[in-house]
């Protein structure tokens, strides 16, 4: 393990991400900025070896390291006006955990440390990794190019080498500068996203309630496994779910920084999994209806929709139409994977049903997601039956739940290779943090929080709850 290299990567990613945030005029509290600086930085870094490869530059330590340094410096330019921001590490307003949070924090920290350890320690053994990005990264390290001896192999049983080079690129970077197995970039995403998600919840609901719901989230068996097993689905979840949260915030509050940042996060999500634009198209009506209600002219609605999709569309075109179609020395026609009988929509409804009956409410489903969805439906039922009025942000976030559910069924319908027990099962990860975001806006949980806060008599917490209630 090269600790200095790892530390330098973290710093580079932080400042690169901070530059992205500055460019996109995104704003948030210090925890949000710090966490998303790292996540955005990982996203930007993941394009670098890929673009070097497309530019026919040999992938050596010097070329990759130089490109990373140059990229970091370029993204620091927007920060120059704010030199204080660059050189002052974020001042977190640490509050000491209250007594009742301590056992929960102990469990969360233990789970996070265990995940990081396994990510560092266990060699990747998922077939999708060893027959695709893992092998590709390993060969690119020794043969200095994505065009390497992988294409002299019998590849009839795999198409994993055709996946977008998000993982390949990060594996190359981390294997070159951090540790033998790479992989630790996944821990960076996991820790940053988890800290942000938890802090976002604690900001709005009582810490004990947040801790209880967060325990259920952290202990979702299948999701936790993918926090240390490198594959596409966890990173895709991070970028998509966060993007959707900021899109919801934009729809509710109208801050263009939220919109810009959401579009950026969706772009990275598309780079991780190229089926993401299908979900984004399903999310567009949320944007269009909201703008239509605000009496925005149709041309502007079209322009905004275009801006939300343009990054994702470009990344899709680069990955699928340039990289796969023309760059890789193997002819692979993606259209062969598309369902030839799209007029028959029966399988779409079958998949929608199977997600519920075979993935969520089934014995294997319990092993994948535990009682996560049962609890969500219980909370939602109380919200709808008792409180009957949801805030706009809550409604938009629920729209995100629907978008992922219908979108995954649609992906399975359009691309039959996207099977229920692998692609859809792991794609469902995206719903989990979106549901956690919903909890932060649920009237039932909000009421419960207020009751506990008032009973507890903690003035600071009371003030926080009052502020969040006003925001609602």
């Amino acid at each position: 393990m090269n600790f200095i290299g790892f530390f330098l990567l973290l710093i580079g990613q932080y400042f690169t991400g901070r530059g992205v945030i500055q460019l996109l005029k995104f704003n948030g509290n210090r925890v949000t900025l710090a966490c998303f600086s790292l996540m955005a930085g990982v996203g930007v870094y993941s394009f670098i070896p890929f673009f070097l490869e497309l530019g026919k530059v040999k992938l050596t330590t010097a070329s990759v390291g130089g490109a990373l340094a140059a990229t970091t410096l370029i993204f620091m330019v927007p920060l120059l006006k704010h030199l204080k921001t660059i050189f002052s590490m974020p001042k977190f307003n640490f509050r000491m955990p209250t007594l009742y949070e301590v056992p929960f924090y102990a469990i969360f920290i233990a789970l996070i440390i265990l995940s990081i350890w396994r990510c560092y320690y266990l060699p990747p053994n998922a077939r999708d990794m060893t027959s695709g990005p893992g092998l590709m990264a390993k060969l690119a390290m020794t043969e200095k190019s994505f065009i390497n001896s992988i294409f002299s192999l019998d590849l009839q049983s795999t198409n994993n080498y055709l996946k977008p080079p998000f993982i390949i690129s990060l594996q190359i970077i981390y294997q070159m500068f951090a540790c033998d197995l790479g992989q630790l970039w996944l821990s960076v995403l996991f820790v940053a996203f988890t800290v942000w998600l938890f802090s976002m919840m604690v900001e709005r609901i009582h810490p004990l309630i947040a801790c209880i719901f967060f325990t259920v989230y952290m202990a979702t068996p299948e999701l936790y496994a993918y926090t240390y097993m490198v594959l596409f689905d966890f990173p895709n979840m991070v970028y998509f779910a966060a993007g959707f949260y900021f899109l919801s915030k934009y729809l509710d509050e109208g801050d263009s920084g939220n919109f810009n940042f959401a579009a950026f996060l969706f772009t990275v999500a598309t780079y991780v999994r190229t089926e993401t634009p299908i979900l984004l198209v399903l999310a567009l009506p949320l944007l269009a209806v909201k703008m239509w209600k605000d009496k925005v002219p149709p041309v502007q609605i079209a322009l905004k929709s275009f801006l939300m999709m343009i990054g994702s569309a470009l990344v899709y075109l680069i990955c699928m139409n340039i990289y796969v179609k023309h760059y890789i020395p193997i002819k692979y026609d993606v259209s062969n994977d598309v369902n030839k009988n799209l007029a028959n929509i029966g399988p779409l409804f079958t998949r929608l049903t199977e997600i519920v009956t075979e993935l969520i409410f089934s014995p294997p489903g319990m092993m994948y997601y535990g009682y996560f969805f049962h609890i969500f439906l219980f909370v939602l039922a109380i919200d709808l039956a008792v409180f009957r009025k949801l805030s706009k942000t809550a409604l938009y976030i629920l729209g995100g739940v629907a978008v992922v559910y219908v979108g995954l069924a649609l992906v399975g319908f359009i691309l039959p290779l996207a099977d229920l027990m692998h692609t859809t099962k792991r794609g469902m990860f995206k719903i989990l943090p979106i549901i956690m975001m919903y909890y932060a806006y649920s009237p039932f949980i909000g009421k419960l929080s207020s009751i506990i806060t008032n009973w507890e008599g903690d003035k600071a917490a009371e003030a926080a709850t009052t502020t969040s209630a006003k925001k609602k």
Binding site: T98, L99, Y100, E101, V102, P103, F104, I107, L111, L114, W117, R118, Y121, L122, P123, N125, R127, T130, S131, G132, G134, L135, K138, S149, I150, S152, L153, D154, L155, Q156, S157, T158, N160, Y161, D180, L181, L208, C211, I212, T215, V216, A219, P221, Y224, A225, M366, M367, G370, Y371, I452, W455, E456, G457
Partner: protein, 157 residues
């Protein structure tokens, strides 16, 4: 006092939560096992790979040890038996696909339906009663015979 009460509520929740079967199984099977302190004692990368991949890694190692000392190592191409054939011989082992074998040991291999199958000069074969073995193919006749044996079995993962 109120904080203490909330602390007790939280503790009760955690204890109760990890008594629920699905979370108890998860904790016992996936979290506390394998023991990270035991893992800490084994830091060597090759050992970690060996533990992670088990029999597949052992197969690759046996191939590598033979091919590395062979004169034709640069042109070595290993014919893999279809997994359905291995299963029909009552052997419980899944031969990894060529890409995974290349990932593990850098040796090229091919399924029986591979474009270069006629160039195969080594093979993983089934030895009745003993399991799998790795051997050199002694000429086109033996290759033809192996392909004939496998012809009714489609290679698959």
């Amino acid at each position: 006092m109120k904080k203490l009460l909330l602390f007790i509520v939280g503790l009760f929740f955690l204890v109760g939560f990890f008594q629920i079967k699905v979370y108890q199984d998860w904790k016992d099977i996936k979290i506390t096992n394998p023991d990270p302190f035991e893992q800490f004692k084994v830091q060597d990368l090759q050992e970690r790979i060996k533990m992670r991949f088990g029999p597949a890694w052992e197969l690759c190692e046996s191939m590598k040890s033979q091919i590395d000392t062979a004169k034709d190592r640069d042109s070595a191409l290993v014919l893999l038996p279809p997994n359905s054939y291995i299963e029909s011989q009552n052997i419980r082992f899944n031969v990894p696909e060529p890409a995974v074998i290349y990932y593990l040991c850098g040796i090229k291999s091919t399924w029986t339906t591979g474009a270069n199958v006629q160039k195969a000069n080594y093979a993983v074969v089934v030895v009745p009663g003993r399991g799998l073995a790795f051997k050199k193919i002694e000429g086109p006749a033996e290759l033809k015979q192996l392909l004939e044996t496998y012809k009714n079995y489609q290679p698959a993962l």
